[in-house]
Symmetry: D2
Subunit: 278 residues, 4 copies
């Protein structure tokens, strides 16, 4: 599958997130410990907000660990919201249009997991995408089709409800084709203001997902750590796999739930797929 990281908070140099930590995302591209695979070398992507109204994206088919451009960008970009993803393909071609994060307007989307037997049900799923949105599909992955289903079902208005409806459809179509557990997922999506993360799988045994502890809690625990006073209180990181750091800094997101990172209070709520009504 894949590994990913999403950051929201005080503007940060991107390499502090994905390069310099001991078990950084770039290290995880060679040596993932919690992922379905050790190696995540089938391309990568970076999305960041800052200049202009829509985020920038950088995609490459090369492994993250040996890509010079990625290190250059990471060292020279500062951003308050960052998405980063390393891919381990479950079969689709290795090409930039299949690299996460995917973008539509101000929205970014990235996914770890898969839609099972996607080749079998792809046609049905693609037909369910709003015909107005259909021309904007650029690649061939299950993850991007999932994004466009979520957009079709109202991602821009109510992300949790839209993802619940998209997953409901995927499970409905999958089961109609005899697929026992149609979807396995952690997902991050955001619009530059707020950030949502989802953890779910049809089999109730989902890929790992962690959210960083609130900064004020960490400050109470580590009162002498100066780095904790440099970042604002709303700063949070959501990751497939912790990249090290302070003990107590990472909290597992519960099975079948979603998180929103936004100014004010963060929330974790239950995730319940909504099958289509007939």
């Amino acid at each position: 599958m894949c590994r990913w990281l999403a950051y929201s908070g005080t503007p940060v140099r991107v390499d502090e997130l994905i390069v310099t930590p001991k078990h950084s995302l770039i290290d995880q591209s060679l040596h993932s410990t919690l992922g379905a695979e050790t190696t995540n070398g089938d391309g990568f992507g970076l999305g960041w907000y800052g200049v202009g109204s829509s985020p920038g994206v950088f995609h490459s088919v090369e492994p993250a660990w040996n890509n010079r451009n990625l290190r250059e960008l990471a060292r020279h970009l500062v951003s308050p919201m960052v998405f980063a993803h390393i891919r381990a393909s479950t079969g689709g071609p290795i090409q930039q249009t299949n690299c996460h994060p995917f973008r539509f307007g101000p929205w970014l989307w990235m996914h770890n997991g898969l839609i099972r037997e996607f080749r079998t049900i792809k046609r049905d799923l693609v037909l369910a995408v709003d015909p107005e949105l259909f021309p904007f599909i650029e690649g061939t992955t299950d993850s991007e089709t999932f994004f466009f289903l979520a957009l079709t079902f109202g991602l821009r208005d109510d992300p949790p409800a839209a993802v619940e409806r998209a997953v409901g459809l995927i499970e409905d179509v999958g089961r109609a084709h005899g697929i026992e557990h149609p979807i396995q997922m952690t997902v991050a999506t955001g619009d530059g203001e707020r950030l949502w993360a989802f953890r779910y799988s049809s089999e109730g045994s989902s890929r790992s997902l962690f959210v960083s502890t609130a900064i004020d809690t960490l400050r109470a625990q580590y009162p002498n750590n100066p780095r904790l006073w440099e970042v604002g209180e709303g700063t949070r990181i959501v990751v497939s796999e912790p990249f090290g750091g302070l003990v107590g800094a990472w909290n597992e997101v519960p099975e079948s739930s979603w998180v929103v990172i936004e100014p004010g209070a963060d929330r974790i709520e239950a995730f319940t797929p909504r099958p289509p009504q007939r």
Copy 2:
């Protein structure tokens, strides 16, 4: 648009076809004289028959003129049927799955031209592809969708009829969306035994297409040219743009017609789109 070459005949080293001629396909990638664009630098592809029952394909997103692997392969492959294509994108992403020739079983397919306003009518066209074939679509181009429509309409049994039906559908769908001239095309397709080439456009003003003169005719004209005695009588080349050589060696394929290169007599016949019946 693009430039392409298809060869059938006495096994030949591929570089004699695409590298060493004065105005070779590789030269045309930088300096096309008859194409819609001078530069065809948006990737390329090579298909060849020989080892095994299905053809080999080699695709790259880099320009043909500076690709070392292409020159290496061309110098070290000998084949009796070769397809080569250089791409000038009309908008689709530059990725290997969008490079021609496309392959399905023993069939290769390549296209110069475009389906106009493809983004608008792609959904309707893709829906017309046989659901059994749908999962084998790998890229996102108009040309590959066209290939899968032809497969849907019987390419493997009767190529000219299948292409006529595919073009009939494309024109029908296009005009229903108010597109005046839905398709512009030259196409080559083959299965390792026989080779078909098509020249057509909705506006009746199609991209150039040439077929080489029969070897025995050339021998009569150039009795002292030893190269003409080294190749068998059935040897033929079909090209978007002649790559030089003997005067009288190239014959323009007429507007709205198709050619088949096969053992025995070659044929040129009229091409007439067959719209779907309701």
Copy 3:
């Protein structure tokens, strides 16, 4: 050869420099009008100052005109000093380490032109590079060797003198090997504070080079153009080939001269190679 652009002044979004102008550098990658070649499709590079003490660089072997990552970066980077280069190889391999701008510490370097018969004299030139600097050579081009010769001869202290000594050596070595006109060049180099550009060739017939007119002069000429009031007075662009815009905005840099863009008064002075003393 190549085309390049160097910018110094009010921080600017990079796409305003290289993407949106009518005859932008990206347009020149397909349709150069003043270059030695029409097509500059053998890779490209971008260098920019901003975050951190040394500049960021982004290199790719693909043509600039179809590279999505370049457009993404250009749209999302703002910088007060930008180097951009599109390459037309004179023979060296197409690889990222051969893409300009080259970097050493805070210094960037890019070159249009060539060292003639470089294969013949490369060994002698490389031997003249300071052994302490030698390990930092990453690619195989004449242009990078030229950069390291300039560094060897004091680029970091006195750029014009260092380039004059490097060119003196190249001409000396070249002529010792019977090469009539050893070098053809326009060069840009800078350290984030100041920017130097050079125009010279052994034959006295150098590639084109232009510097933009001072902003206050343009304001006097076009008093109603609001864009001219948004940029600071020291803003200047140096280019191989003007990318359009206002009449009178571009001034040819004279044959055999160099320019420095720095706070205060810009200067143009004569360039005179300094052969090694024996």
Copy 4:
């Protein structure tokens, strides 16, 4: 480091060597068990003899496990002598000119291991390359410099002596710079007729190397295995790491020795570096 395979014998389809075996070289690119690293994802290369007098080479910077062109070529090439290499960079840039096998005329060369502190001693080693050969160095690796030293010292006439002299020089230069164990290596080289393999390291603890058992020995051991009767008696495979198959099929090459595979009797002899004489 890296993994490699060299084959000499009855013409074979390349995928039977590098794709279809259970623990094939492509599998080893993700899951090496005997290598210094598990992952060998920093590019790969293929060299093969067949058409023309010099071998074909195919190089890519992408990982072998996800490269479609490699699988295509492997399935459609038949050759009596094949070199294949997967790279795990020890620091040099990931670019095609740094991919093994390297070629010079009919000679191929590939290396697993490294010259330690190569940046420190590269200048001295490069200076020892014959000035006539110097211009043909294309990349920047220790392995290619090693190849050109071997060529300088007579590889084309007496490969074992030439490699012994090259290693003698590398150790001599390395130790003069205080490097305790200057070289670690397994090497394969050949000219299309004969194939040599070397196993050596300054520290006397070299990377693994295996040669396949003679076919007639295997036939005696497995009289009912039909595959063993399809290949000729001289057929041999040399590998960094066995790729599975019959028990008893692989023999470790002893520490500090070299092997030649040639018509008639194969030989294994001691390898003794020859330092330069002063």
